[in-house]
Amino acid sequence: MSILKQSKGFWLSVIISLVFFGVVQWLISSEVLNSYYTNTLFTLSINIILAISLHLIIGITGQFSIGHAGFLAVGAYASAIMTMKLEMPFPVALIVGGIVATIAGLIIGIPSLRLKGDYLAIATLGFGEIVRIIFLNIDYVGGASGMQVMNLTTWPWVYACLLISIIVIVNFTNSTHGRACISIRENEIASDAMGINTTYYKVIAFAIGSFFAGVAGGLYAHNFYIIQPTNFGFLKSFDILIFVVLGGLGSLSGAVIAAIILTIVSTFLQDYAETRMIIYSLVLIIMMLFRPQGLLGTREITSFFKKSKDAGGGTQNGNKQTTA
């Protein structure tokens, strides 16, 4: 019975996602959505991918990494080099962007994941900045003036990447590995004592997170006509961090919802950049003062509809967040 129910849920979600894809594709091709809205939709999807890739690192594994724009930059530049310099097709560029970002994630992850809490945060922040400075100083990718990129990002690619990243991260979270990661978040020393190879799981989570950040970078690069190192500074990292923190540290649907809300809000406030940042910062401070676990805590949106079913992302009972 439960198997039948599960497969019914599976087919239902397949149908819903296909219908959603078709409707949006029809809206775009019939030009109901003009290029401005299409662009916003792409930005929205890219932000969701970024938010859930960071969610895996911070929310699930509890590793406080605030240099995510570094992986985004690596993916963006790697895929832009693929399409613009080596004339590879777009999907290859996306995958290469993801792989190069994974390699960057491993290079930074293996040594620095020995650090904890604040130190890891500062090390990753430094890493993000190093990446930016490296791209700033390489003439091959245009240095400070940036790199011209073709506009190749289309709805099928964006949607496919979004779906794949959500599916992979949800399945990872609910697998043995995901459970191990959650136990590291809850108490690293205890999970180490229980025989969990903490370094291994932290690096795995870091690698998967950076892979999807790299893919998002590829989409991001090909959504604009130019990419510049200044696009990938501290502020971009903080933007992504805010999605995860606001939605709830440990809640995937929370991160998605926060990404959607904040992207829409910042699109409306595009002309008032400083107002936008003031609102962002006030939201961060007030959120931390009154609800440090974020909007949803470690709960998922589905858990509000059905009480019994395990929705992944961590403990259901008690919204306690005990990240180091």
Binding site: F64, L115, G117, D118, I122, F127, M277, I278, S281, I285
Partner: protein
């Protein structure tokens, strides 16, 4: 000779980093929080110095003192509003709040006065070139070094000879025990924030006089580099912050001297990551075993 001149520049720059790093290290030593907003207090200090010199027509030293006082008050206000309610929350919550406060100060400043840079008046400090054994040293560098050294001596005096300093050391050693011994932990933390922020304000005015250009977003990079300096010397250790700051300044100047000035910021972060990996407790720190 070129190298020695760069060393002198590096020491001036390093003394600015050291002044900011002292605030980081003191706050971290007591509340175990990376006060991200510290670099922005430095920026505010710089602007207050600028306005007191240009609009109030004050000299360098009155401007320095006004800036230190205002920054001290600002530091205490930030602590009271944003950090005090989170004293018992998770470290990440406190860190995120600190990032929020930092962004709020930066963009609040841009909102109030715009993002355009401002140029410090040039002749606030006597600027003469002193020739010594074939090296040219600007008298401003010497002034900066002198002021920084005086401030650091004052800080050492406060920390080691006064009651507040004793309380600060006690709280940083063990807040619970200090409370039991009748030390007001809240007041001590406020004093720490006040002293640290005053030093950042002083660093801001000195930075403006030396580098001329100031802008609302300027706190970020010196702030993070000062944090690198604090980690380099061993965070929580006051002499470590001074040595770390000077060392970082010298390293940066040497990198520039060898013709890699574009990589200067990157080198600071590479130093940070190397230190964190190989000697996480810093040059002066001792290793502690983690208690379960």
């Amino acid at each position: 000779m070129e190298i020695i001149q760069q060393l002198v520049n590096g020491i001036s720059l390093g003394s600015i980093y050291a002044l900011i790093a002292l605030g980081y290290t003191m706050v971290y030593g007591i509340v175990k929080l990376i006060n991200f907003a510290h670099g922005d207090v430095f920026m505010i200090g710089s602007f207050i110095g600028f306005y007191s010199i240009t609009f109030l027509h004050l000299g360098f030293f009155p401007a320095l003192i006004i800036s230190m006082v205002v920054c001290a008050i600002l530091g205490v206000v930030i602590e009271r509003i944003a950090y005090k309610p989170l004293r018992n929350a998770t470290r990440i919550a406190a860190l995120i709040t600190a990032i929020g406060v930092s962004l709020l100060i930066e963009y609040g400043m841009i909102y109030l006065r715009g993002a355009q840079p401002e140029a410090y008046p040039i002749n606030t400090l006597p600027s003469k070139s002193i020739h010594l054994l074939g090296i040219t040293i600007n008298s401003q560098s010497l002034f900066i070094l002198g002021i920084s050294i005086v401030l650091m001596i004052v800080l050492q005096f406060i920390v080691h000879k006064t009651k507040t300093g004793k309380a600060m050391r006690a709280v940083s050693h063990d807040a619970e025990a200090a409370k039991l011994m009748g030390i007001s932990v809240d007041r001590t933390i406020s004093a720490t924030f006040a002293i640290g922020s005053a030093l950042a304000g002083a660093a801001g005015v000195i930075f403006g006089t030396y580098y001329i250009k100031i802008e609302p977003l300027m706190g970020l990079i010196p702030g993070i580099k000062a944090f690198v300096a604090a980690v380099l010397g061993g965070i929580g250790i006051i002499p470590g912050a001074m040595v770390g700051g000077l060392l970082l300044g010298v390293i940066e100047s040497l990198v520039s001297a060898f013709g890699y000035s574009l990589w200067r910021d990157g080198v600071a972060f590479v130093v940070l990551i190397l230190i964190l990996i190989f000697r996480p407790s810093g040059l002066f720190g001792k290793n502690f075993k983690e208690k379960v």
